[in-house]
């Protein structure tokens, strides 16, 4: 990547697919840094921020959202063709988001239950991450992403440095911050031990369990955590839902959820 972002004032494009816009809002929430950042990059395409749209190509593209329609499939290829360095941001773009739950349901049945004219809908049977469709240069995880991490990745890119993302577990961040474990001392169901760091252990810092929105920590041991949480009295079906959540399409979480559902008799 480093060789690619070399323009004096690189052009930034921000694109949205199936998503809630919350990750793009994290960019706008960089209130103290946004003006300085705008000096260093030309914000050429960012509909959440401005209706002024400049055509590509773009030096850096941030892509939010998952692929859920046939038009999305075409459009993400167009974005890829226009973008030198493409970063998927947020759980929708990196894992299919909460809408990936359709992947384990009968979409045709849903359509006719919910919509009076299901034939008007153009939707795929699946919600899939950006990387299923095009090569992605980097992924920033989270629901939403941590705005500091987005800024950090962009600033590093501007210096020609790679992203160097956090790779620890949420537990490591949680302990660095001096929080008390909500599983051990609180008896709460927390997904922190199997979840990738990056949020600053936000939920445990507020006394509640992590719900794995950053996706699996590398080498996550889902079955071992599931066994522990089952010991807290959680029914297997509820536990399976925790692994089926926002980032449940990741194989490490999916296989744990399937194991729990199989044993749910």
């Amino acid at each position: 990547m480093s060789a690619r972002v070399r323009a004096a004032r690189p052009r930034l494009g921000v694109f949205k697919f199936a998503s809630c816009d919350g990750c793009q809002l994290q960019l706008l929430n960089l209130e103290d840094e946004l003006l300085a950042l705008a000096d260093r990059v030309e914000i050429a395409h960012f509909l959440e921020a401005s209706s002024r749209v400049e055509p590509g190509p773009y030096d850096v593209a941030l892509v939010e959202g998952s692929i859920t329609t046939s038009r999305d499939v075409e459009r993400i290829r167009e974005v890829r063709d226009q973008s030198a360095f493409l970063i998927a941001i947020g759980a929708c773009a990196t894992a299919g988001g909460i809408q990936h739950l359709r992947n384990v349901a009968d979409v045709e049945a849903w359509k006719s239950e919910i919509y009076p004219h299901p034939e008007w809908l153009d939707t795929l049977a699946t919600s899939t991450p950006i990387s299923d469709h095009i090569p992605v240069d980097h992924e920033i995880h989270g629901c939403p992403v941590n705005k500091r991490e987005v800024l950090r990745v962009m600033l590093r890119a501007l210096l020609g440095a790679g992203p160097d993302p956090p790779r620890a577990s949420v537990c490591m961040e949680c302990k660095r911050s001096g929080h008390v474990c909500v599983i051990v001392a609180g008896g709460q169901a927390c997904m922190g031990p199997v979840t990738r760091a990056g949020c600053g252990a936000l939920c445990p810092s507020l006394g509640r369990g992590c719900y794995a929105c950053f996706g699996p920590y590398e080498g996550a041991n889902g079955p071992a955590l599931a066994g522990r949480l089952e010991g807290l009295g959680l029914p297997r079906r509820d536990l399976a839902r925790r692994f089926r959540g926002i980032t449940g399409s990741h194989p490490a979480f999916r296989s744990t959820a399937e194991g729990l559902e199989d044993g749910d008799g």
Binding site: L159, A161, G178
Partner: protein
Amino acid sequence: MPDASEPCWLERTRLQRLLDVLLERGFEVHGPVLRDGATLFAPVQRVAELAAGWRDEQTPGGYSLEPCGEARTFGVVSGPGALKPFVFAPHEPLLQVRMDGPGSSFEAEPVLPEGHKVAVLGARACDLAALAVQDRIFLRGRFPDPHYAVRRRALFTIGVSCTRSVSTCFCTSQGTGPEVTGGYDLALTELAEGFVVRFGSPEGEDLVGALGLPIASEEALRRERSDLDACAEGIERALDSGDLRDLLYANLGHPRWEEVGERCLGCGNCTMVCPTCFCHDQRDEPALDGAASLRVREWDSCFNPEHSQIHGINFRARVRDRYRQWLVHKLAGWVDQFDTSGCVGCGRCITWCPVGIDLTEEVDAIRRTEGAS
């Protein structure tokens, strides 16, 4: 002024005076306070802020507090935090790097902590033993760590000997407790009406002088001895450490590693709460203007797969490899490297492991079935 060898007596009602003198001398005083269902060291100004009247129950993977029914100030044996964060910060800047412009040379300046004076009230014997181990790692040798050194110099420790233990304690196996015997500025033992006080440094001696403490009575010392002995006798968990180093080195292929690797979450909680674990990572945080960057150090863990990632390969790819690395290094490798075990028997890794993996049990299992591979 009592003789150095003579323990003194501090009435329970005068504990506030100890805090006041420390505060007057410019210390930020930290003591155990109730926080989110456990105790943590936090800044205090009043004795009333301390977690008095409570006691902890600790089991593998479990921690709870309950009222102890008496006015003990230090009834809680420990929380997840030890002295480690006071000297080896979880997250701290190391270097400020500045550059004039693209292609120009850069300057790097060390960023040292300010070293404001911190007094920690309520450190346990195992915590002080762990501090001595960390001193050995960070301060000795050819490259003492300047960041650690600044914080360490500014630290004043008030140890409190344990008169009760929890089920995860095994300091008696490691020779580190329950009595505070070294590495302290002041040492207290809590009895019903007050505290037996000893000093272990000139600063501690000066403080005892400022408080004008009387000599402890023989009756108080007799009860102190009796309470400490009872506490030591009550510790049931044990780590047979006689031939531990050789035992572990001889059993690197033991099937127990595979078995524990299936239970282990690989989350790293054990290493974070371990008062001696020192692994860290360094990251560069670029400034907004593109002309500066801050090099930051933060706690890392040998359970983090990234920790063993080198170019093109992870040499401890599986959780079992990482667990084995942690345990063998802690109990055997440290002996070769630092001439001390890395374990002080505080039991935090047992309590705060979400799935309750117990290193004493793992060592026992290997010992029982040695050569099973």
